[in-house]
Subunit: 358 residues, 3 copies
Amino acid sequence: MGKGERKQEGERLTLTVRQLAEMLGCPFEGDGEVRIRDVSSLEMAGEGDIVFLGQAKLRKKLEETRASAAIIPPGESFRRIPVLIAENPQLAFVRAVEIFFKPYRLEPGVHPSAQVAPTAKLGKDVAVGALSVVGDDAEIGEGTIIFPLVIIYPRVKIGEGAVIHSHVSIREGVRVGNRVIIHNGAVIGSDGFGYIKMENGSYRKIPQKGTVVIEDDVEIGANTAVDRAALGETLIRRGVKIDNLVQVAHNVEIGENAILTGQVGIAGSSRVGKNVVMGGQAGVADHVNVGDNATIAAQSGIHKDIPAGAIVAGTPHLDIREAAKIWALMPQLHDFVKDMKRLKARVEELEKLIKNKS
Amino acid sequence: MGKGERKQEGERLTLTVRQLAEMLGCPFEGDGEVRIRDVSSLEMAGEGDIVFLGQAKLRKKLEETRASAAIIPPGESFRRIPVLIAENPQLAFVRAVEIFFKPYRLEPGVHPSAQVAPTAKLGKDVAVGALSVVGDDAEIGEGTIIFPLVIIYPRVKIGEGAVIHSHVSIREGVRVGNRVIIHNGAVIGSDGFGYIKMENGSYRKIPQKGTVVIEDDVEIGANTAVDRAALGETLIRRGVKIDNLVQVAHNVEIGENAILTGQVGIAGSSRVGKNVVMGGQAGVADHVNVGDNATIAAQSGIHKDIPAGAIVAGTPHLDIREAAKIWALMPQLHDFVKDMKRLKARVEELEKLIKNKS
Amino acid sequence: MGKGERKQEGERLTLTVRQLAEMLGCPFEGDGEVRIRDVSSLEMAGEGDIVFLGQAKLRKKLEETRASAAIIPPGESFRRIPVLIAENPQLAFVRAVEIFFKPYRLEPGVHPSAQVAPTAKLGKDVAVGALSVVGDDAEIGEGTIIFPLVIIYPRVKIGEGAVIHSHVSIREGVRVGNRVIIHNGAVIGSDGFGYIKMENGSYRKIPQKGTVVIEDDVEIGANTAVDRAALGETLIRRGVKIDNLVQVAHNVEIGENAILTGQVGIAGSSRVGKNVVMGGQAGVADHVNVGDNATIAAQSGIHKDIPAGAIVAGTPHLDIREAAKIWALMPQLHDFVKDMKRLKARVEELEKLIKNKS
């Protein structure tokens, strides 16, 4: 097993219900000696699997499951198979997944085909996969895994325990925090889109001198792009989760624990507050401030500031209650217009009648 | 010519009209000895080119073309140059394109700079290009071509006759069928976007333990992302065609022969039926069922189930006939509202008149 | 310092205000001996930085800046620190940025780990970074920089002074002009999305025999995709600027100096005129003609031709003035409908009154 190659997959782990319950800190009922070897969904489970009941409406599927054990909430009476009782069954299940399933990672070490600059500093137990490039003066923190075919441009700093998947580009001078996960094909630190219009109609590039800072515990999806700032930093704060194919333009700031789902776009210099949730394909125009805890429906277009806690939808966006009223009206609009035209005719008739009487 | 390098481009093929007509199984009229060396469009054709008449409205362009032969439908009287007569001229033309034009491919063999794990199994006549990585226990079927700079993570299975372009990432354990084409930069099997919200507002990652299955004859566009399932499979069924920059989230199923055009997004656990056609930038929300044979207009937002055969448009989506009525009304809406305000004044006037008379 | 590696970063440049003013061709006022070492924004500047006043409304920030000098427009009276006076302060500032900031580039030369075909032709001072692939018969013009992990397929031609970032794919036969910049992960020349529907419901691929031509001075953003033509060329004309994650389909033509911002999509065979500006996530349907100098608002859907100079918004698009009227009405629509229902009741009442009187 060479360096920078995959971890040996060991024997499959088997735990009794009793052992698993102890590891999860949950009480259990039923046969504690039943053996659990994997996690599964209610529909697909078989012998040796543990499942969970996340919503009361899935109870029927629970009754029909072929799993060997289930994680259920306190009020639930189901006992056909051994059960673990958890306040948050989904969370307990996720911890069970983490026990039985280890995502594919590389062993520490630098693959001989990787191109690591002599001036780069690699922490303890760093893995650099085959055919990856680590540039001059880059710093990679302890335990971070760089998959094959990654490019780390010079002067990049990556924290500890990060995972950088194949075909990611991290451009010069970008800073990436601890435990950050970046999926395949994402680009961090490409030039922001900035030009001056010249008198002859052509555009002159504004050099993008700034950088990107990704704080700890951020996850960035496949083929997402985060541009470097013109001056200063594009900033993705701690705990932000970004899905695939998202565009984050230069000088944007995304607040702590915000969620940007697939194909969202944030234009230049905008600020998205903490805990904001944006639905798929939604967009925020440039120089806009999205308040903390706001929720933005899928495909919305945010053209101006929205206050903290707002829930908005539509292009241009409206308060969700206004938008919902409009959506309800739309299918009736045609009939309404016809109705009003008839009303107009009736008013004309009345006017004639009155006039004739006068 | 080294292994894993390009095929030698041979002498250019020349066929007579008679030979080409035989190969395509079409009758011809005119000089069967005219020599054809290439295919072209009506506008750009020159001597030696064959063209086709796809729509009657292009007849004028056919009359002006400098091509040496044309493929025309049975009813067409044009005879200025030799003609091949085909029930489906476009299909006959595509077959002619396939005769004269061979897309660039690699010669079988593994390039010496590629990193292929000793435990990977390569079928007969597989090509692995320069600087590609094939992980442990991966299986690549006969005749499949892996272009340079591709990453195949461990335990991936790819069928026969597939074409994987440069900078594609195929993540651990993904299964890809026969004759699948994946264009540059696409990512298959990145983690699904799944988190549990914790009490302190942060998100905990739900491990994405599942995989992706791509059935036979699928084509996937450049920089498209298809996420692996949380549990189970994300499933792209036989014959599906996916354009560039499309997002397919975890646990989605796309039915046979569905068409997802550029920048479409499908959120988690949704099912798109067979033969569905989605226009560009359209989106489907999570846990939604799109019925077989449905058609979804560009930029639509599908927020709830739509029945088989439905044709829908808009965000939130409406039946296309309702949507079309609304679109027709929109430009008149402002005048209509003004008109109604005047009507209201007239009614007030009438009310006064009546009241005064009483 | 090996070939194809980074340029040595020299000593930091220091200029006096007088020297900088001379280089920019601007008059200055105040102490010409003040030393300038960098550019910055009004907020972030410190000692040794020069800033600029782009908009009158930022004057307060100028007064508070800690910069050592400022570029201001002719009418501006601010003199607290040395000032350079420029007709276009932003343009003068950009030229100052170019003086103090050199973006990271590679030294000329071919990195020993790169795979360059013996038949490829590299101009003077070309750089090919680590682990890049340059295919047979490719031609790279003088001074062009190919970053690491790039794939240049066979027969590609790239002009002089171009910059191709890591993980870019340039497919077979594509032509790229002088001074073109292509950011990470972009794909140029992937197959267009073209199929014939067969009688059994499956789709048969139409071979994409054409190519892509990128003229001089184009910039293309990260993870953008530009498809090759079915026949002929997809054409990106001189000076076009394309942002990240943009989709340009086969046989499209983008006119000179057009601007396509993030996540824009242009469907097959459409033509976007010169100087057009498209906002983020806007889309153009297939076979549509967008006239020169048109402006398209973010998220608009262009379903049919628009004339030169048009300003449009919405899906389906409307003239911006009509769209703005509708946006203004939308929040009132619900009340308006209720109002009209009351009006209808009043008319019915009037009708009864009249009838009773008759």
